[in-house]
Symmetry: none
Subunit: 192 residues, 4 copies
DNA sequence: CATGAATGAGTTTTCATTCAT
DNA sequence: TATGAATGAAAACTCATTCAT
């Protein structure tokens, strides 16, 4: 009767509800209900709501990074590599709007602040991303503006985030040509 | 002992607590306490927490727009007007971090989604801003890339939002020269 | 409609239910119900169930010690002072069976263990009681057996506790003559 | 790998956890875990947690009574028989602190109240113990005070219980000489 | 207008027990 | 017998809102 993997059902239900209503609009009982399990069952798979939230974030981030890295060729010129990454990222978000919304909820919360602080303390505020290296290299090759990494990151990433949000809200339809034009414009922002 | 205007006290307390702890970390009792009034008193000025939140948003947005429009000269060239607006905006956020954080909380919540939807339905997703007109004009004069307004908005605004967040989190120190370089780079992103 | 002091109602309800059913047989909802208040109201007076429990213990202990000290004359002989205290204690418990049962619940729980440890660490395992001094004095005067204070305490107190329990359970009817005979027997146990 | 008798494993695990954490600090899952069996397995041996608790009590009481009766010689004088029993009892508790703690948990709970009531209804509040007979005989021989059996029981038993508790809590170290002195003092309490 | 005690619905989490395998 | 995933009925606690003063 139940689908074979209850854990997936729970994760899926949590993703959908949290993405759409936020953490506080997602009582455990509602998640359980949508997943088709009893309230207590969630605690067979996740120790607490906190852990469910963090775990779900890790899964989404993993899938996203995997998508980014696919076909990424480190021997290509800086510009092409940037365009590849930006395009991939935007396309991933367009294809997985719930993932994007979930990540936004996560970042805009104590969880996200803690995560960012932790990562910044080490080396990068969005670790695992191929960006930091790419920017450093571009600055060294005098292809990219000589600005702090954080600023370059904002110039490159900020528009994608804002635009994805608008796309999801239905303010614009992001098709492939528009995505490419947008990423090209992002490049204009950081290129020397 | 009490300041004359309880309403201001309430608004100020709400801004501070919500900006720092989020909507759910800001019980009415805590706001009342910080404002130095009784819990019930808030309801003399605001029908509900929802209304307090929306009202506070409107006030902050108003102050911000006022700051943007100050010294704004519609007869100057597109580029200069953009640089003026961008610089003003970034400086305003740097000077009023609580306002920025509050707006982020607001946008990243059902309130924000509703607001944006409402505004888009009419004409603009960030109404009252001088941006839409500026972009239209820039496109017509072939100074700005021929992209949808929403995209231009993302290219111009996205980096500022992301960067302000990083500044507030302490990942970077935004001084005036850096602000100007950043806005100039934003211009590169949208200019033809 | 409501009795003037809701706090007393809550304390009274908690005493009765906890004494009879134990801490785990006393949900906050049940206490609230018996007190004639809403569940949340309890938290206007006590931060948590833990604090309610500890506070209630302190109140009971205070009343009991007051009863013990009444008419207590430090200039009388050791034996008379002991008989006075023992008789008072037993009579207090007979008159206030709920207090006795509550204290038993308390002592037989993590709360009690913590309390005893704390008191023992300082100077006495049942501080505030006039016993320790009395025992020391009696040993010095060679009226009381030369045994560790803890043992003397057990010899003197143990029977009263056990007997009070039996009285409350209805196994025996403790009237004044019997109380006096019992305390006299307790004295036989510790006297030299 | 598993010990042959799962039932013993379960009983042992329950004893240890309940003695140390109380009934409510001993979820069935934890008992099962410590016993090295699955949660459901416990229900193959015990119908419910209640029944496990009662059953365990009966086993402990049985072992304790057996220890008491060992070497007990009914033809010896009353005093010697009392000293024998008291010493045995105290030594048993010192040697088996978990048993003592478990019994305290049990008595101080609805289970214990029910048990005592049941036994009193028949004939004795601590049935199976050789005490009642001993007291009756002692009173008849005019060696023991002419007090109700319940009172004699409290005078004799109460100190041992209180003292064992203090010993387990580490407030005193009960070695053999001290045990004997204590039991002798108990005798002073009941002897004529 | 102002107060703040009181409310009670709603939230997360625990855990004895069941049952399909 | 043995398993352990699943259940769902509590339980403690929070907090927006009301209302008698």
């Amino acid at each position: 009767m139940a689908r074979p993997d209850k854990r997936s059902d729970i994760v899926g239900a949590a993703l959908q509800i949290i993405a759409e209503q936020g953490f506080h609009g997602a009582p455990m009982a509602m998640i359980a209900d949508k997943a088709g399990v009893a309230a207590g069952t969630i605690y067979c798979y996740f120790e607490s709501k906190d852990i469910l939230i963090k775990e779900l974030y890790r899964e989404i981030e993993g899938k996203m990074l995997e998508a980014l890295r696919e076909d990424y060729q480190t021997e290509r010129p800086i510009r092409e590599r940037f365009l590849h990454l930006g395009t991939r990222l935007l396309k991933y978000f367009v294809a997985h709007p719930l993932d994007f919304k979930y990540m936004e909820q996560f970042h805009n919360s104590p969880y996200g602040a803690a995560l960012r602080r932790g990562r910044f303390a080490k080396e990068s505020n969005v670790s695992h991303l191929p960006y930091p290296e790419l920017f450093e290299l571009g600055v060294a090759q005098q292809v990219i503006k000589d600005l702090p990494e954080v600023v370059l990151f904002a110039l490159a990433f900020g528009p994608m985030i804002t635009l994805t949000r608008d796309h999801i809200l239905g303010f614009i339809e992001l098709d492939d040509p528009l995505i490419e034009k947008t990423i090209a414009a992002c490049w204009d922002g950081i290129k020397r």
